[in-house]
């Protein structure tokens, strides 16, 4: 979805494709919060591009501050598979004991994508994390996703995570956003 | 016309500030031509700074960033709204001459804000109250 998307191009709430996209996001949130990472991997497209650019605090004339060329995450399906496999070892200390997360997804907007069967989906997210007796960490931002149809199901083909913080106020990012 | 600075001392695309009597004059060189305007920003009455011109051959006020054309004094970007006054300028025998007219004469002191009972002019306020 781009700045030029008009309201008329947005799929109506409750339309078939809107509901499928929203359902995808809600189910994904549940898989992540339940630490069902193996099932989550099944929702990722083979050609997935998954990025979370670093952001800086800049004047409005310089735009939103997302840095060209540096990210907190620059992932493919295989690198996310690596992260999941890491969590499945018995020495992934940052997640052993594990984080307890809550992925809240809202403000879902859907339009038809560039290719047949693809949907461009933007949404706002708020992810809370607590772990052991530590206070909550909050991760908030916007996701810009491309969902691709694969038979009867949708797969995540592209995700851009537009994070709200410039200095990450969390000691690590050992969870998925 | 009063002599000011040697033309050769002015880099193309730069300006200097010169005092002629009571007047502060900004002298800018663009290519091989010289232009003269008041050197006092019409917004916060700050003296404009000598040095290279801003992109687009403009003069940028150091304080709030107003951009003026040194050619006709016009405002290209706020917060100023009033153009800089321009003065005739030309090079005579390698020296930039500027005519500031009556502005060079010592003027009666404008009412200072610290004069007891002084009030701003309606013009400086910009608009009457409704």
């Amino acid at each position: 979805m781009s700045e030029t998307t008009t309201a008329a191009e947005l799929l109506p709430v409750g339309s078939d494709d809107y509901s499928r996209a929203a359902l995808f996001l809600y189910r994904e949130a549940q898989l992540l919060d339940d630490a069902r990472f193996e099932d989550w991997l099944e929702t990722l497209h083979d050609e997935l591009v998954y990025e979370m650019p670093v952001r800086q605090s800049v004047m409005p004339k310089d735009g939103t501050g997302f840095v060209d060329g540096m990210t907190f995450l620059t992932e493919t399906r295989n690198s996310l598979l690596t992260r999941v496999r890491r969590l499945q070892t018995e020495q992934a200390w940052a997640e052993q004991p594990g984080s307890r997360t809550r992925h809240l997804v809202a403000n879902v907007l859907v339009e038809r994508g560039a290719a047949e069967g693809e949907l461009n989906v933007t949404s706002a997210f708020l992810v809370t994390r607590t772990r052991a007796d530590l206070p909550y960490d909050f991760f908030s931002g916007e996701r810009r996703d491309v969902l691709a149809r694969d038979g009867e199901r949708l797969l995540l083909k592209r995700r851009q995570i537009l994070f709200d913080q410039t200095v990450m106020k969390s000691y690590n990012l050992s969870i998925f956003l | 016309m009063e002599p000011t600075v040697p033309f050769a001392s002015l880099e193309p695309g730069s300006c200097v500030v010169h005092q002629i009597g009571a007047a502060k004059v900004l002298i800018a060189r663009i290519g091989d031509t010289v232009h003269a305007t008041s050197a006092i920003c019409t917004h916060a009455r700050v003296e404009l700074a000598a040095g290279p011109l801003a992109p687009g051959c403009l003069v940028e006020c150091p304080m709030h960033g107003a951009l003026f054309s040194p050619v006709d004094g016009s405002v290209h970007e706020g917060p100023a709204v009033t153009a800089l006054k321009t003065y005739p300028a030309r090079v005579v025998d390698g020296v930039v001459h500027v005519d500031v007219g009556e502005d060079g004469a010592a003027r009666p002191a404008t009412p200072s804000p610290s004069t007891p009972g002084a009030r701003p002019s309606l013009a400086s306020w910009g608009r009457p109250a409704r």
């Binding site: 979370m52 670093v54 800086q56 605090s57 800049v58 004047m59 310089d62 501050g65 840095v67 060209d68 060329g69 540096m70 990210t71 907190f72 995450l73 620059t74 992932e75 493919t76 295989n78 690198s79 598979l81 690596t82 992260r83 496999r85 890491r86 070892t89 018995e90 020495q91 992934a92 200390w93 940052a94 410039t166 200095v167 990450m168 106020k169 969390s170 000691y171 690590n172 990012l173 050992s174 | 916060a44 009455r45 700050v46 003296e47 700074a49 040095g51 290279p52 801003a54 940028e60 150091p62 304080m63 709030h64 960033g65 804000p113 610290s114």
Partner: protein, 448 residues
């Protein structure tokens, strides 16, 4: 700072314990009291960070006149700005009128540094150009030539890295770095064009005493097979826990330390796995000893005292992916006794080929930084150590730093400084803490 005749600063902490009791370098014990302690933090700010040469940035962050970046130096805001003359200057980021920051973005390009409070404006060289309503000051009151931004006392650049110190007495940067320059050149001075920052630093806040980060980056290689056991389990580090134990621990000078670790005897591990196309440049820019060390090693991590670390390591970014090297700079900025702001940069040789740039970037982001499959576990350790070591019972017992102390420096090692054989050991950590104590207790720590 109060100084006694022997050139020692006041050694006593509030409860009468002396600083010299906290670090036992020969006995290899470090008191837990040095971590997470407010009194120590204030002393460190005074005696280390306001005196030492601190990392400020990299020249490639400021390519054009008027470019600025904002940073901290010893806990106070500074701005680095490139002037119209091309010089990079650094100033306390604070208007001389009320103290407001004059540059408030992380980066920008400005014609003037303008205070948004009352309009005082400073040139790109830090001079006060104009104050508001100057005609309302009596003549001579507003001496603008004395009211420029307060410059960082000394600023200097080494191989593109910008350093600053608040101490007029500090020796020149090159002298401060001393023999460490020889080793820094392996990473920062090996190619014709030098290095550049990729994008911008990743920045994040960690609830740790900064010393745990620096300690870890003095060349602690033996935490790999425990702290990063998950990566071993994935087959992304060699299975034998001693496979990364070879090479040297090097104390270049003072507290500037590093390790140099060789890969197995295979050409793919030569020159740290850097692109072969760059080897002619290495040959041009390094002397024969440096070139030999670059060729023979694959991993190096080190720290420039007090809080600038670097790493050039070969890693796999994902299962089955290529083993790729990256160069990262780290500044561990203490923000309190128990919190540290981490600045992590990826550097690339300007002349590196395009495919390598992409591979190196992916390897770096996937393994280090807050999401890195290595580094996310490091913060787990640093935060826990900081919390636990605050305990009064815990503090009755020192921390053990004794590995490899029986080894003598290898006289045949060709580089400057002292080099102990084998990269598993605690010589470099002890050197770091010994230097820390020297700075905490000596009037002129850089002397001797």
């Amino acid at each position: 700072m109060a100084v006694n005749p022997a050139g020692l600063l006041d050694l006593s902490l509030a409860d009468g314990v002396e600083l010299t009791q906290l670090i036992d370098e020969p006995g290899a014990h470090i008191s837990r009291r040095i971590y997470g302690n407010d009194e120590i933090f204030e002393l460190e700010q005074d005696r280390i960070f306001r005196r030492a040469w601190n990392f400020l940035g990299h020249v490639s962050e400021l390519p054009n006149p008027g470019d600025y970046v904002t940073r901290d130096l010893a806990g106070e805001p500074v701005v680095l700005i490139r002037g119209d003359d091309g010089e990079i200057r650094a100033f306390l980021n604070s208007c001389r009128h009320r103290g407001m920051r004059v540059c408030r973005a992380d980066r920008d390009n400005v014609s003037y540094m303008r205070c948004v409070y009352h309009g005082w404006s400073y040139s790109r060289s830090g001079d006060l150009v104009t104050a508001f309503a100057e005609e309302l000051y009596d003549p001579g009151r507003l001496r603008k030539e004395e009211l420029g931004l307060i410059p960082v006392t000394q600023v200097a650049i080494y191989r593109g890295v910008i350093f600053g110190t608040w101490d007029a007495e500090a020796p020149p940067l090159e002298e401060y770095l001393g023999d460490m320059r020889f080793y820094l050149d392996l990473f920062l001075g090996r190619t014709d064009g030098g290095t550049e920052v990729v994008g911008a630093p990743q920045v994040w806040d960690v609830s740790t005493d900064w010393k745990f980060c620096a300690d870890n980056f003095t060349g602690d290689n033996f935490h790999l097979y425990t702290a990063h056991g998950s990566v071993v389990d994935l087959g992304m580090l060699p299975p034998d826990p001693m496979s990364l134990s070879y090479g040297y621990l090097v104390r270049a000078q003072g507290g500037h330390v590093l390790h140099l670790v060789p890969g197995p005897p295979d050409p793919s591990f030569e020159y740290f796995g850097l692109p072969r196309d760059l080897v002619p440049q290495f040959e041009r820019n390094l002397d024969s000893v440096q070139l030999g060390l670059l060729k023979d090693h694959a991993w190096s991590v080190g720290t420039v005292f007090p809080n600038l670390s670097f790493m050039q390591v070969m890693v796999q970014g994902d299962i089955g992916g290529p083993n790729v090297t990256f160069l990262s700079l780290r500044a561990w900025m203490p923000t309190s006794a128990t919190t540290t702001r981490v600045f992590s940069y990826l550097l690339l040789d300007r002349d590196a080929p395009e495919q390598f740039r992409r591979d190196s970037y992916e390897a770096y982001v996937r393994t280090f930084g807050p999401s890195g499959i290595f580094e996310q576990d490091d913060m787990e350790n640093w935060e826990d150590c900081t919390r636990v070591n605050k305990g009064k019972i815990a503090q009755r017992h020192g921390l053990h730093h004794g590995m490899g102390l029986h080894l003598e420096p290898d006289p045949s090692f060709p580089g400057p400084g002292q080099a102990w054989p084998g990269s598993y050991g605690e010589r470099t950590q002890l050197s770091f803490y010994g230097e820390w104590l020297k700075w905490m207790t000596h009037e002129r720590p850089w002397a001797s």
